[in-house]
Symmetry: C2
């Protein structure tokens, strides 16, 4: 570890020490422009030895770039969502760093996009990743209006918005299909916020699975837009009255409430009721019985989102929609 009482090296210092121009040093580093092979190597060797690092601010100013990407996290997520966002962030960070970008984090308070506007207006970011979008989303509209490159993690309802998401539709469809094949006929659905686009995708997957199986759907056993514990409990009560043989939970937080309720009602799993959930998060990992679940790779999602954003920033064309895979993990709760 070196002391750093002396000022940091600048490109001029390097140039002077080597008896070349700043231009040459710059070109040696960037690899762009015309420069002789041995000169380049000489420069690079010197840089390496003296640990010179370009000042990103100056570089950014010259190129009118910041080498930062903004990541918008919703502030109001639950404990259950956290590991998902965290993994996703890790994926984003790894990718960003590999391209010498950093991530500027900001949390939105609900639908307020003041922070986002600040970030953009202050020229602090080259692009933005939006983690979760609403059916009508001021963030999306702002970014579109300002022509800032951005991608949404999770689907969005908007046209011409680049999105990266797990294929919730296919995932939910496959899960429900499997359950139907296992002779469950009355599959209840609980949870999800109607304002989140992902809820709609899943619901559609559920409906499609039923249609595919040629079984009519009973709307009475679909309880979307239920999140609070008390609401979940009531929904479970109704499902018990309706005599469903399986409950699919839209996320693991809801699932916990469902499990608690069933426990209190002395309904055995999987004996009297099957249960399945989303995300396969660690919060359920010790549950007895183990819970059948859909599993998504949040880290990959982050990685891909970041890569796509980079393309966008570089002005390259990208697929408007990238859907990532999932896995159905069958466990004891649907045996």
């Amino acid at each position: 570890m070196e002391q750093s009482n002396e000022r940091k090296l600048t490109i001029s210092d390097v140039a002077e020490a080597l008896g070349v121009s700043k231009t040459t040093v710059s070109r040696a580093i960037s690899g762009k422009g015309r420069i002789g092979k041995d000169t380049r190597e000489r420069v690079l060797a010197y840089i390496e030895e003296h640990n010179y690092k370009p000042n990103v601010l100056a570089k950014g100013l010259a190129q009118l770039k910041t080498y930062n990407i903004g990541v918008m996290l919703p502030e109001d997520y639950t404990v259950v969502d956290l590991p998902f966002f965290q993994s996703c962030l890790v994926g984003i960070e790894e990718t960003a760093i590999s391209l010498d970008y950093d991530i500027l984090l900001t949390m939105s308070r609900g639908r307020d996009c003041a922070q986002l506007v600040r970030m953009v207006e202050n020229h602090k970011v080259d692009g933005v990743i939006l983690m979760r979008t609403f059916t009508e989303d001021a963030h999306v509209e702002y970014l579109k209006s300002q022509n800032i490159p951005f991608v949404t993690v999770g689907s969005s309802n908007y046209e011409n918005v680049v999105q990266v998401d797990n294929d919730h539709h296919a995932a939910c469809r496959e899960l429900v299909s499997i359950l139907l094949m296992k002779q469950m006929k009355r599959i209840g659905l609980i949870g999800g916020a109607e304002t989140h686009v992902v809820t709609q995708s899943r619901l559609q997957g559920y409906l499609d699975a039923y249609e595919e199986a040629g079984i009519p759907v009973n709307r009475e056993i679909i309880h979307v837009n239920i999140e609070k514990e008390i609401m979940v409990e009531r929904a479970v009560e109704k499902l018990l009255e309706e005599g469903v043989d399986c409950i699919v939970c839209m996320d693991d937080a809801v699932c916990i409430h469902v499990l608690n309720k069933l426990r209190r009602e002395k309904v055995s799993i999987p004996g009297q009721m099957k249960v399945a959930s989303f995300y396969d998060s660690s919060i359920l990992e010790n549950n007895l019985p183990s819970i059948t679940s859909l599993s998504f790779n949040a880290r990959d999602l982050g990685t891909v989102a970041c890569k796509v954003l980079m393309e966008l920033i570089d002005g390259n064309a990208v697929k408007p929609r990238t859907l990532l895979g999932y896995e159905v993990i069958l466990k004891d709760s649907t045996k």
Copy 2:
């Protein structure tokens, strides 16, 4: 919402439009330097009307500042830690924004500080907040050696390191004192990573409470450095053998394992065993019985840490150590 097909305004544009010099505009904005009152107002009005925002890169380059602070998050935290870190981040962000700083997030993989070094060497941050430190911490040593302003959230063992923390020592001492006064005599302790400084503080609090009460400590019922579920279970078994009347858990993740184990062993709470935990996190909020716990305000912690860092960045003197309060929340599990 305005279109932005035209280039962004620069300070020169503003100056030209107003028939003044860039200097004047700059001074009107910063409030520094000599400028006439009406001139300033004229400039500010124009800026407001045309929504001019200075380019932070250029500003930073001129002042050799970035207006970013780095926040180092450990990558390997558990679900239980997440809400704590998240709240803390919110506190940091609010404060940073109010001073026109942004936060650059990075996750350390264990003790590796490559990301941190990158951030610093690339001139991307003016200061750093370290979320959690180890007993021997490469991050701390690096930052000290580079003379970068930084503060640690959570205590650190190092001299001359500015730290902001909840008073875990006092908190644990008070909790244990209260339990002792409630006639529990054999209070078991489980959990915490020995490598984390906070664990030591709490342990000391526990010991001090015992000393204060004039009761000799039985080292056999202290099981520090236990985190994995299987280890926790074994520790619980030993505590049951030792006949303790209360178990204090070092964090809520450990507490969940303890509760599960006790449930399986058919030990009733609080009838046969009292239980207390740290953090009062949402992960325990639905537990029956409700769990006595210490509560800390993570958001405040973030706020204070950020404020202190700002002082440091501005070159002002600060207290080397700031300890924040806590609350003992007595619930059913110790009744």
